[in-house]
């Protein structure tokens, strides 16, 4: 009969594992980074004349936030809660109002012809605007665009945007572009 190997006492291995666990709990973070993603316009080259892009007046809506966090859309004061509907109306232009942006028939690959709105949202803020108000306005604009995209998806694919394939999402993004221009900093305090 061979000698019996004494059993290893494993009672303390749990303690060791707990120690390691507590170490990782303390040194690591679990917070997910989330936020509003944007693309800044490139800086114009120094020798290049600053020329205003020729945008038809009807194709642009100017959203201004002044230093008192008051919001103006298209030169009239507006509540943040009503901004979404205003932006949606501006981008959709359901009745082809000549004051609202024109649409351009665009050939989208894999989808066909679709009238794409040429509307651009120009966001202007003052140096004294609070960040919270700025993000709230940004959020409302994104929400308006997301809702239009969602309607487009339902009408054409019968599915929610997140359930579409990569190519279909690309088509939706092309049909309903997110054109937000964060203009050169301007002093809008006089408003």
């Amino acid at each position: 009969m061979s000698k019996k190997v004494p059993e290893l006492n494993s009672a303390s291995s749990a303690d060791i594992a707990f120690l390691l666990l507590s170490y990782f709990l303390m040194t690591t973070t679990m917070n997910q980074d989330s936020g509003l993603q944007r693309r800044l316009p490139p800086m114009p080259a120094k020798d290049q004349e600053v020329q205003d892009q020729k945008v038809n007046r009807r194709n642009i809506i100017i959203v201004k936030i002044n230093s008192q966090d008051r919001l103006f859309a298209g030169n009239e004061p507006i509540e943040v809660s009503r901004l979404k509907d205003k932006i949606k109306e501006f981008l959709l232009n359901p009745n082809d109002d000549p004051k609202l942006p024109e649409k351009e028939m665009k050939d989208i690959e894999g989808f066909g012809q679709y009238p794409v709105s040429k509307g651009v949202i120009s966001l202007q803020n003052d140096r004294g605007t609070s960040y919270q108000a700025y993000i709230a306005v940004q959020n409302e604009i994104v929400r308006a665009i997301n809702e239009i995209r969602e309607d487009f998806c339902r009408a054409n694919y019968g599915k929610a945007y997140e359930n579409l394939t990569e190519e279909q999402q690309e088509i939706v993004r092309e049909a309903v572009p997110q054109l937000i221009s964060e203009a050169e900093p301007k002093d809008v305090s006089q408003n």
């Binding site: 594992a17 666990l21 990782f24 509003l36 993603q37 609070s130 993000i135």
Partner: protein, 155 residues
């Protein structure tokens, strides 16, 4: 009765603790996989603004962080309470952003550099002036992909 007489002598079998370490190790691996190391100590206090349309940052390893907010409580005697910019581990000014972005770019692999996102973590009460300065500086060094960090609102 003899049947019940023996009861007092019966010993409760020892609780096996051998599997406990396995359970704890499982927990440990879960935390190791789902979390990431805290890289920098936050010297500014920020309460992120709320937004409902937030998107997740896809590649965390390709992110550079700029924090803006009033200095943390224990630093307020030294630095005051006006909002400051924190890059890496120290308070900096907007002039340092160029070097910071260059260094961050250098640390990413060549193929991924174009996907680098600058995440601006700013306190909800800071004024846009400081944010605008940062944005202008980022445009100058053509770090155009940015993200305004925000909390997902509950409603």
């Amino acid at each position: 009765m003899a049947k019940f007489g023996r009861e007092g002598k019966k010993e409760v079998p020892a609780f096996t603790t051998a599997s406990m370490s396995d359970i704890v190790f499982m927990l440990l691996f879960f935390f190791m996989v789902t979390t990431n190391m805290r890289e920098t100590e936050s010297k500014v206090m920020y309460q992120l603004p709320e937004a409902s349309e937030v998107a997740k940052l896809e590649r965390k390893d390709l992110a550079a962080y700029i924090s803006v907010g009033p200095p943390a409580k224990y630093l307020q005697q030294q630095y005051g309470t006006s909002p400051r910019i924190q890059l890496n581990d120290s308070f900096r000014t907007t002039d340092d952003i160029r070097d910071f972005i260059a260094a961050e770019r250098e640390s990413k692999s060549e193929a991924d550099r174009q996907f680098m996102t600058v995440s601006i973590k700013a306190d909800q009460d800071v004024k846009m002036g400081i944010i605008t300065d940062i944005k202008q500086e980022l445009r100058k060094c053509s770090a155009l992909k940015i993200m305004y960090a925000a909390r997902k609102s509950t409603n």
